[in-house]
Amino acid sequence: MAHPTTPSPGVPGEDATRRNFLLYATSAVAVSGTALALWPFIHSMNPAADVLALSSSEVDLKPIAVGQSITVTWRGKPVFIRHRTPEEIKAAESVQLFDLRDPQPDSQRAKKPEWLVLVGVCTHLGCIPLGQKSSDPRGDFGGWFCPCHGSHYDTSGRIRKGPAPANLAVPDYTFLTDTTIRIG
């Protein structure tokens, strides 16, 4: 009992096509509008300005003797700094690249061969590998050993054995003087 001048829905013809067009256009606007409106909510969960601002730290290397390692904090994560011995450097440099899961020559990983700076977070699931203290197990390759699921890293922090897919990350750092670095 529709009013004679009101076209009823579902009647084929010009009106129906026009109505379909309006329906699709409205839906498209609504969907993209909603998607755009979601972005501020999603982005609010990304690191805030103050978190980003905390992202560099300076370290004095003078007190670290040859063969010693220290751990500093950068962006809430540990950073390993190892003053490598000549043997450790030699071991790291003499590895054949095709022996590596994540091939990278030692020269790309250390700005000065005696100083190795690494993010001390296992690239598997984020545990902190052991090997900073002289009493720690250092794994089969003399670097670090992650106890969580058994990843072995060499004296260049490269993954050699275990489930981790990648080498320990090298953070951005610069030598401010011969014995100070800024990380980040």
Partner: protein
């Protein structure tokens, strides 16, 4: 159908405007329930009971809890020592999570044994798996709140699972953390979600029960209800049985709360979180152990993560993977045995997950993981086609009537 029996004028006035009393009458009183349900059918209502306990204890805990990395651990210790009955609230909540999972797991295995996931109950089953997933997310985030060593490192390892996603993985992890490691923003949002999700669970539970009342309960024989002679009204028969079950269950639950409150916990979680030191052996709560074992069974990060999530996703496909037309394992002599093997397999995975991934546990984990997927992807589809099932009874009431005639 008839409106509520004791028609009070006020009730009728409200009911004419919002038929909430009619709804309750239909779904909690008259609801025709198969007459042959056994005690394994108690675990659904037990799970609902546990959700109420968790929400209640949780809200009162939240009144004394502080979601900040510098105060969270101490605020939980204050709950334990200074807040009146704080220890009770916390132990109810801690052990309640274990009991909630226990009831839900029994409920799921019950469904597998009696074929409750089969047509027409697929959507009901899906909603159940969704509930299970939401519970896991809730419990994971809750475990982070006391900010002990296991809280912190559990959160680190689990959020890092997402870094296995190619290309965008590490941006997703940074987004989840709200920083460059698990920290204060992470703790804050986990508290927000931990508060929210139980109410989402409540909503899904409502849909789950709605679906149940549309397709009606399965039963130990796995055959359809043929008529009124096969059913009894929910009230008083099953209200009283569920209540009795809650009584028994409370004895078990409160035994742990009062006598072994830390049995399910990890001593390391009483050490405040230290982002610079990983505990030598990270273990998740017991209800995550089988999945943790699957994750570690594969020596490849991405594949391990994919397998772990697949172990749950595969449950959504169960209604089509099990090709047998017979629901209940009572009439499937071979499936029945594989059901128990599967249950044992899940327990083996749990044991492997609790132990360090060395020596014999590596191989055990790999075999058990293989069997888990083999069961779903190969065994069930083939078995349904080849198994010779036992004859089904004509109706739910036939064996009952026969038995009472034999006795007479």
């Amino acid at each position: 159908m008839s409106a509520p029996a004791n028609q009070n004028k006020i009730i009728k006035w409200v009911d004419d405007r919002l038929p909430i009393f009619t709804l309750m009458q239909h779904s909690a009183i008259e609801y025709p329930t198969p007459r042959n349900l056994n005690y394994w059918w108690n675990f659904g209502s037990l799970a609902g009971f546990m959700l109420v306990v968790m929400i209640l204890s949780g809200i009162f805990l939240a009144m004394s809890y502080t979601a900040h990395v510098d105060y969270a651990f101490d605020s939980v210790e204050r709950i334990m020592r200074d807040v009146n009955y704080g220890w009770l609230l916390r132990y109810l909540h801690m052990n309640g999570a274990s009991m909630f999972f226990l009831t839900v797991l029994i409920h799921i295995f019950r469904g597998m044994y009696y074929g409750s996931f089969k047509a027409p109950r697929e959507v009901l089953w899906w909603l159940g798996i969704l509930l299970y997933l939401a519970m896991m997310a809730t419990a994971f985030m809750g475990y982070v709140l006391p900010w002990g060593q296991m809280s912190f490192w559990g959160a680190t390892v689990i959020t890092n699972l997402f870094s296995a996603i190619p290309v965008v993985g590490s941006s997703i992890v940074t987004w989840l953390w709200g920083g460059f490691s698990v920290g204060n923003p992470t703790l804050n949002r986990f508290f927000a979600f931990h508060y929210l999700l139980p109410f989402v669970i409540f909503a899904i539970m409502f849909l789950h029960v709605w679906a149940l009342h549309t397709v009606k309960s399965n039963n130990p024989l796995g055959i359809d209800v043929k008529g009124p002679q096969d059913t009894i009204p929910f009230h008083p028969y099953y209200t009283i049985k569920d209540l009795y079950g809650i009584g028994l269950f409370l004895m078990v639950y409160l035994f742990f709360v009062f006598y072994y409150p830390n049995l399910f916990g990890e001593p390391d979680n009483y050490i405040p979180a230290n982002p610079m030191v990983t505990p030598p052996h990270i273990v998740p709560e017991w209800y995550f152990l089988p999945f943790y074992a699957i994750l570690r069974a594969v020596p490849n990060k991405l594949l391990g993560v994919v397998m772990m999530f697949s172990a749950i996703i595969v449950l959504f496909f169960l209604p089509w993977l099990d090709t047998s037309r017979v629901r209940s394992a009572r009439f499937r002599p071979i499936y029945k045995q594989f059901f128990w093997i599967f249950l044992a397999d899940c327990i083996v995975l749990g044991v492997v997950g609790a132990n360090p991934p060395e020596g014999i546990y590596v191989l055990m984990g790999q075999i058990a993981t293989f069997w888990y997927f083999f069961h779903f992807l190969v065994l069930l589809p083939v078995l349904g086609k080849v198994e010779k099932t036992r004859p089904l009874p004509d109706s739910i009431s036939t064996p009952v009537i026969k038995k009472s005639m034999e006795k007479a």
